[in-house]
């Protein structure tokens, strides 16, 4: 594993994440958000979960980011940044970060051996989805349908 590649991906992802969170211009932030997900997908590739990485790119970069952009366009009148920034959130976020890092460093029982990439095949995933996880899959299907209908109902015009 190329640790240089790892470092690059990590910095790339975090920079775009910060940009997505703090950029005052909505559209830029949304685009940074999409790019950040590419970084995360790269992590997934690195960790031997290629399928998930691809799904991540399809779903987030392809679908969610587009949805967000559409929403920004639809609410354009409000999209100009005249909203302030709350510094209290920064304090809390940093606090949580410190707490998490402290907990991670404190935990001794983490497996320390360097990781061995063992890629998972799509076939394996498909078999598992259709055998062991068939019930959750059904539930997710129902959930997605319900979300679809719910989203439609929410945005439907009230006027007849």
């Amino acid at each position: 594993m190329n640790s240089v590649a790892f470092a690059v991906i990590a910095i790339f992802t975090l920079v775009f994440a910060v940009a997505a969170a703090t950029n005052p211009r909505l559209m830029h932030a949304a685009l940074s958000f999409a790019v950040m997900f590419v970084g995360i997908a790269a992590f997934f590739f690195l960790l031997g979960a290629e399928f998930v990485g691809l799904v991540q790119i399809f779903v987030y970069v392809g679908a969610v980011a587009v949805l967000i952009v559409f929403t920004i366009l639809l609410t354009r009148r409000d999209a100009e940044e005249r909203h302030g920034f709350k510094w209290g959130g920064v304090v809390v976020a940093i606090g949580v970060f410190v707490g998490l890092v402290w907990a991670i460093l404190k935990t001794n029982s983490l497996p320390t051996l360097p990781y061995l990439v063992k890629a998972v095949t799509v076939k394996e995933i498909g078999t598992t989805l259709m055998t062991q996880d068939v019930w959750p899959l059904m539930c997710v299907g129902v959930l997605l349908t319900a979300a679809l209908i719910g989203a439609l109902v929410l945005v439907m015009e009230d006027e007849p």
């Binding site: 709350k86 209290g88 959130g89 809390v92 949580v96 707490g99 998490l100 402290w102 907990a103």
Partner: protein, 656 residues
Amino acid sequence: MTDWITRNVWLVPATPIVAALLILGFGKHARRAATGVAILGQIAALIVSTCAFVPTLHSHEFRAFENFTWFTFGEQSLRIGFVLDPLAAAMMVMITLVGLCIFVFSLGYMADDKNFSRFFAYLSFFSGAMLGVVVANSLLLLFVFWELVGLASYLLIGFWIERPSAAAAAKKAFITTRIGDMGFFLGILWLYHQSGTLLFYDGGHGCLENVALLGASSTFIALLIFCGAAGKSGQFPLHVWLPDAMEGPTPVSALIHAATMVAAGVFLVARVYPIFSAGAVNGVTSSLIVVVWIGVVTGLMAALIAVAQSDIKRILAYSTVSQLGLMMVSLGVGGVAAGIMHLLAHGFFKALLFLGAGSVIHGLHHEQDIRKMGGLRKLMPVTFATYAVGMLALSGVPFFFSGGWTKEEVLHATSHWPSSHVPYFLLLLGVVLTALYMTRQVMYVFFGSSRAGSDHHAHESPSVMTVPLIILALCAIGLSIFLTPAWPWLESYLLGHEAHIDAHLLLQPMILVSLVLVGAGIGLGFWLYRRAGEVDPLQQKVPAVYRFLENKMWIDEIYEHTILALAAFASRVSDWMDRYIWDGLVRVIGGIGQIFGALTKGADEGVINAGVDETTVGARGVGRAMSRLHSGQIQIYLGVIALGMLALFLFYAWLT
């Protein structure tokens, strides 16, 4: 026969109690059946008691007990039982005999009452409960009946339920005696803990048979038990309920003061006397010293107060308190037999006096103020004659009246007390006072001329009321045969000795002392009250003292402003704490959340003032405070969640 009665001595208390339940079952309108059942029950109890009395005569130190298991808890069992010994037998006969007289008297006295049958049910229950106290062979069983006696007195004192004063007096009696009972209860627990049994006699294993095991704790146990006795027997400082108990119908007062309730306390001390005297040096223990002094204070104080009372029943009530003090002194100085003898004799003549007073009240259409009476000697001759017998017995005129002999015994025992001679001299003062206030009462009621004209319609009571008076008067006189020092049969019987006849003992120097004192008391009374008008002669001469005594030394008022006020205050505080502090805690927790919310908001808007305002306003209610937490700002909700996570981290850090 002997066997049968010793095994079935429980029948004595059971009969009146069953009668009471039957009467309650009959309902309100079965007046004839009610009286029939009540009196039959009492007669049956009298017969059974007499049967039980017989075997105790046969042998000395006769004691038969019948123990059984009441219930088993876990692997342990609680045993109770009944005992028959001279103490119990003598008390049973006295209670049932006096009770029967009172029952018959009540037929006439209560004839017009609309709750006639309920009255007889309560009376039967009262007498049954008291008989239960007497025959109990377990301190627990004794306590059970003891509380039932308290219940019955509560019901009977408050019998005229529509009178607020009666209800208040009943409440006072119940609560005051219960204060003592709580001490008694603790004493029972302590005794049970120390000795492992509550049975008095159990073939060598009973708690009274092994008092040495109690060790030093016997003093405390005895004093705690004495709390109960003081409550029931009206000893200072728990005597306040007894005069108020006069609110009940007069037969009830007679029963309470003569046969049942107040006798229970003295009886209790006599019953557990081994605990009091455990580890005695020269017949004196610390617990007995307390008993003596409480008795002396009670006796003297009540006698003083009685001199300045004007209600015919209240005078008798205070005389009871005073006599009970005397009995306690006697028990305390070691004269157990003397104390019990006085209790028995007192039972007869005090019942006689109360019933006589009842007859007077009945004749005068419920007039109770002695200053408005007078000259009844001629109008109510039978009542007068019997009342005079009672009065002479109470005053302690020796030779012919039982009270004189027993009082003599008590004084005799007190004079030999090694600890101090002060009680003896104070008791002698009490003797003078007793004679004085009884003479005063008789002078007011029966002599002189009518004062307020209320006796115009005075009439002698019907024979259903006078016959019990006569019987009781005969008993009060006749009992003295068994009491003379020349042939102290009753004392020997109670102590388990053989009685010897020794005529030389009839006249002793001490009897002359008391004769002089009683004479002085009666003479003083006669002289003071020979022409008494509506205003008491004492009141004219020493108004301040009279006022002090007339108001019962303001003990009621003192209690009202100290103990009662304190209890009421504690109650208010508890309620207040509940409403404001404990409930307030909840609000404060709500408020803290609110401060958090306000601060976050304040930091954002830079308006600290508003936050403070919000906080002060916010202490208004849980709901309100909680709802204020809902600022509607979803980001604050989210932030609070994040902070909660942080708090969990801190908690985790603290744990590891």
